[in-house]
């Protein structure tokens, strides 16, 4: 037996394997790759699903459905189009929004307080996820957006509202909602990049 097994991925530690590589392995039918992705992403996915659905049981189902989607469609992941992280989190978001919309049989709006983002508490768990980007950076970047852009993005992303619903809630034309969201996301990217270069003081917390 040689030390250099031809397929010796078990010799490597999980930490060495990129998300993209794990998706490739999942696409080849390796279930353990999903287990590793679960360990990396369950915290952020469950946190996101909990915030969107505000219901632990529904949030758990949404996370499970998301991992099943990732498993089933891993072969369709195209690294030239999106990072693995963006792809995985997009699926997680999609599942959570789907779950919350199912509970909203018509486009009737939930109570006002449901749609206000809950107070942002500083998480100190992000380091476990081994990602460069820090939650505080994103929150700081969000807080720097034009208020109407931020509102539109938060209603869509965390409230699970559609363009129509955002338009009627904010009393804005559909086209305005569309451009606020798009411009807001572009600005968010710019702000994140700016903050990352500046490096926030460690004590700076959310909003």
């Amino acid at each position: 037996m040689s030390q250099t097994a031809p397929h010796g991925r078990s010799a490597r530690s999980d930490a060495d394997v990129s998300d993209e590589e794990l998706l490739r392995e999942a696409a080849q039918g390796r279930e353990a790759a999903i287990a590793t992705l679960f360990d990396r992403y369950q915290g952020i996915m469950y946190g996101l699903a909990s915030r969107i659905t505000a219901d632990p049981a529904i949030a758990q189902d949404a996370v499970q459905e998301a991992f099943l989607s990732i498993w089933r469609h891993a072969s369709r992941f195209d690294p030239s189009r999106a990072s693995a992280r963006s792809w995985i989190l997009a699926i997680a978001h999609h599942r959570a929004v789907d779950a919350v919309r199912r509970r909203r049989p018509t486009s009737a709006l939930a109570g006002d307080e449901d749609l206000l983002p809950p107070a942002l508490v500083r998480p100190d768990l992000w380091g476990e996820v081994r990602q460069r980007l820090d939650a505080d950076v994103v929150r700081e970047a969000l807080s720097r957006l034009a208020p109407l852009q931020r509102e539109a993005i938060e209603l869509a992303y965390f409230g699970g509202l559609t363009q129509q619903e955002i338009a009627s809630r904010t009393g804005s034309p559909l086209g305005t909602v569309k451009s606020r969201v798009r411009l807001g996301l572009q600005a968010l990217r710019t702000e994140i990049e700016a903050i990352e270069r500046v490096a926030l003081p460690a004590a700076e917390v959310g909003r």
Partner: protein, 290 residues
């Protein structure tokens, strides 16, 4: 598919933000997903906003899932076949060779239950739809071939043609198909809703339980709004039901059968017994692919 609006690259880019935030209604999202799938342009607008959308997830508070969720996920993974790779036809050892049509899983049934006014039960394990449905119909075909059960009957010959077409369509990853699976009283039922590109769609379902009196199986288009009737299923004494004249209604992503009273109901009044999600041919990147 039929008569679906198309958008220019510019118009699609304009929707990028709403698309990556899952804020488009499903019909619009499908149009965008199809465009991206078939378009050679770079559409860098999507790459830009997708990164921001991914970052937004970090603004939610990280929260550990309950410890048993990992086991639940991994056991669901172990019993869930993967979608057939598009580019690589080789199927890894141990993976089912059938294309996987299972889409919505238990949530789909729960959603329909909710629409029919029935209580939603505990989360159910998703059936392995493709594995159930394909052999069931193959058996029907074998029976027809071997025994000529339906020879000489025009309507049954039509049914045979529909069955053959459904089986062929189900194996075609580009075809618009919903794999239908029965539950509860119709637990053994399996079939397809097929939407050919050039004419009306149809449903074939095998293994439907017999009905009494003036009961009838009614088919429904299910989308974001209220379910729309797709008509009544013509049920043979052999448990094979057929319905022709289906349209691809905008926004429809699920086809379902309920038991209703002749001449049918304006809205479902019972729990759907047979359900299938229309397989999305535009399973590409982005949230629409999930």
């Amino acid at each position: 598919v039929i008569g679906e609006p198309t958008l220019s690259c510019e118009q699609v880019d304009d929707l990028a933000g709403l698309y990556v935030l899952d804020a488009l209604d499903p019909a619009d999202a499908r149009v965008v997903a199809r465009h991206l799938e078939g378009c050679d342009s770079d559409h860098t607008a999507f790459a830009e906003v997708a990164a921001s959308a991914g970052a937004l997830a970090l603004a939610a508070e990280v929260q550990d899932a309950p410890a048993d969720l990992r086991d639940r996920v991994m056991s669901a993974v172990a019993s869930t076949p993967q979608a057939r790779p598009v580019a690589d036809p080789s199927v890894p050892e141990g993976q089912p060779a059938q294309p996987d049509h299972r889409a919505g899983g238990s949530s789909l049934i729960d959603r329909l239950r909710a629409r029919a006014g029935s209580p939603t039960g505990a989360p159910r394990r998703a059936p392995r739809w493709a594995l159930v449905a394909v052999p069931a119909l193959a058996l029907v075909l074998v029976a027809i071939g071997a025994f000529g059960i339906w020879q000489g009957q025009a309507t049954q010959t039509d049914r045979l043609a529909l069955l053959r077409e459904a089986v062929v369509a189900a194996a075609d990853p580009e075809a618009t198909v919903a794999v239908l699976t029965g539950s509860d009283a119709a637990a053994g039922a399996a079939g397809y809703a097929v939407f050919p590109a050039d004419r009306d769609g149809f449903i074939v379902v095998d293994g439907l339980p017999g009905l009494t009196g003036d009961q009838v199986y009614q088919a429904w288009y299910v989308g974001p709004g209220e379910p729309l009737s797709a008509g009544l299923v013509d049920l043979g004494g052999d448990g094979l039901g057929v319905l022709t004249g289906l349209r691809m209604m905008p926004g429809t992503n699920v086809v379902a059968l309920t038991v209703e009273t002749r001449p049918g109901a304006p809205a479902p009044t019972t729990t759907p017994l047979v359900v299938g999600e229309i397989r999305d041919v535009a399973t590409g990147q982005g949230p629409g692919s999930a």
